[in-house]
Symmetry: C2
Subunit: 270 residues, 2 copies
């Protein structure tokens, strides 16, 4: 169905705006993503928006027209609004010309196939949605299978996380679990658990990584709880030559992921 909306108080506009709130996302099991590039990636990942909202451009981009056809064919809605309304919906002064509403999907561990990729990122109590999105982007870049979120993490379906993921939220694996459920799942199959640590650790460079390698990154301010570190099959140290004793969580994950990538593709002579 196609329609135009010109009023801020329209119920659909109110619903779309409400998706900036975690509470409303949880209730509706829906979330918002913006930008033609992201929506195109979403489609490539098999995710078609239920509602596609665009701020009428005079000559629509061919990719947008295609997307509209896909949405309509799937029984979704194509809504045209004013740029002002789109700005309200996305909470950005200069919004991209298009946004979509997606149904959340299954993020249980059972939805992952651990054998599908040599690397997995695992984040524990990651609080910053920007870091979360950045890690999803890194997952895509290193050809990892996905990101597993442990304990109380930021919402991967928040506008900020989706934006920072640059579309990777739609194309890489994503799971959420408590540590108590993750650990038995991990130990029920192949998988090396690796973390950066200062305790009883070997240099991260050229360490003996084994695929599938699960790289565990801790909370931004607390790091990993000690029992989690103790459970790791391999603890590695990243050089810290300055005053600080840790890197940004997304940076630490990426530095390790690229090292694991290099080592599992062409193992260093030992």
């Amino acid at each position: 169905m196609r329609r135009q909306i010109t009023g801020f108080s329209n119920p659909t506009v109110k619903f779309l705006r409400s998706l900036r709130d975690k509470k409303h996302r949880r209730q509706s099991q829906r979330f918002l993503a913006e930008g033609l590039r992201l929506l195109t990636d979403a489609r490539a990942g098999g995710h078609v928006p239920e509602i596609l909202v665009s701020a009428g451009a005079r000559t629509p981009h061919p990719l947008l027209s295609e997307l509209e056809e896909t949405v309509l064919a799937a029984g979704g809605e194509v809504v045209e609004v004013t740029p002002d309304i789109l700005a309200k919906i996305t909470g950005k002064d200069n919004p991209q010309a298009v946004a979509g509403v997606f149904m959340e999907w299954d993020t249980s561990l059972d939805a992952l196939d651990r054998e599908a990729a040599p690397i997995w990122l695992v984040a524990q109590a990651l609080r910053d949605p920007g870091n979360l999105g950045t890690m999803l982007r890194t997952v895509d870049a290193v050809g990892a299978g996905g990101l597993i979120l442990l304990d109380d993490c930021a919402d991967p379906f928040s506008v900020e996380a989706v934006r920072a993921s640059m579309g990777a939220v739609f194309t890489v694996g994503l799971a959420r679990a408590r540590w108590d459920a993750f650990l038995p799942w991990l130990r029920s199959g192949a998988g090396q658990l690796v973390a950066a640590s200062l305790r009883d650790a070997v240099p991260y460079r050229g360490a003996h990584y084994r695929a599938p390698c699960f790289i565990l990154v801790g909370n931004e301010s607390q790091g990993l709880p000690e029992p989690y570190e103790a459970e790791c099959d391999l603890r590695v140290t990243i050089p810290m030559l300055g005053r600080a004793d840790s890197l940004n969580a997304a940076v630490a994950g990426a530095v390790l992921a690229y090292e694991v990538l290099a080592c599992t593709r062409a193992p260093a002579a030992s």
Copy 2:
């Protein structure tokens, strides 16, 4: 001087709040940093706040008492406010118990000693203060000399950048310049300019990095302008195995910086 402030409309409180605005920071050449850890790092980097604001704890931390003495000895002000006022000043619901006002310092290229470190990070038109702060943190971690900000970058003295730097803004080198000024400065001494690139590039892993190595990272959405890339002494590729063709800017900088660190400390057999 020591004093207590209990009113939101106090001129000092208004001034402190105004420092969240770039315009007011520029006018006053002052900025705000919060948290005991950050302020302690600041002192270690030779920066003593002109005004120290704390929300009276019953038993002050010994480091805070020390800091107060340092501020008073340097002729600064120690101000005690209510937690509500401190929250207003820092714009955070749960502010750290202390914040300080600092004078900005010389961020010209001339303030840098390029021979002082084997690695330097250079960011061009970096727009996200979180990315900027994260890069400062990486500079500290890899033992780099500092971060050079080219063209129109986010403000390194914004609350967000200072916070994301975890104090590194006070302890590592920092310079701001236009490309047209940076390039002659770079070429007036030793220095290899390196960028991640898709054009005419060699694998980043084990490439021939030479200290002092200047790692150039481009704008979040546009990447580096072509002429900047062309000027580089070495162009390297980071594997991108997924759908996207780039990493988060701070992540790319860190992956390269750790590679340069490994190669310049223990050069790979060629």
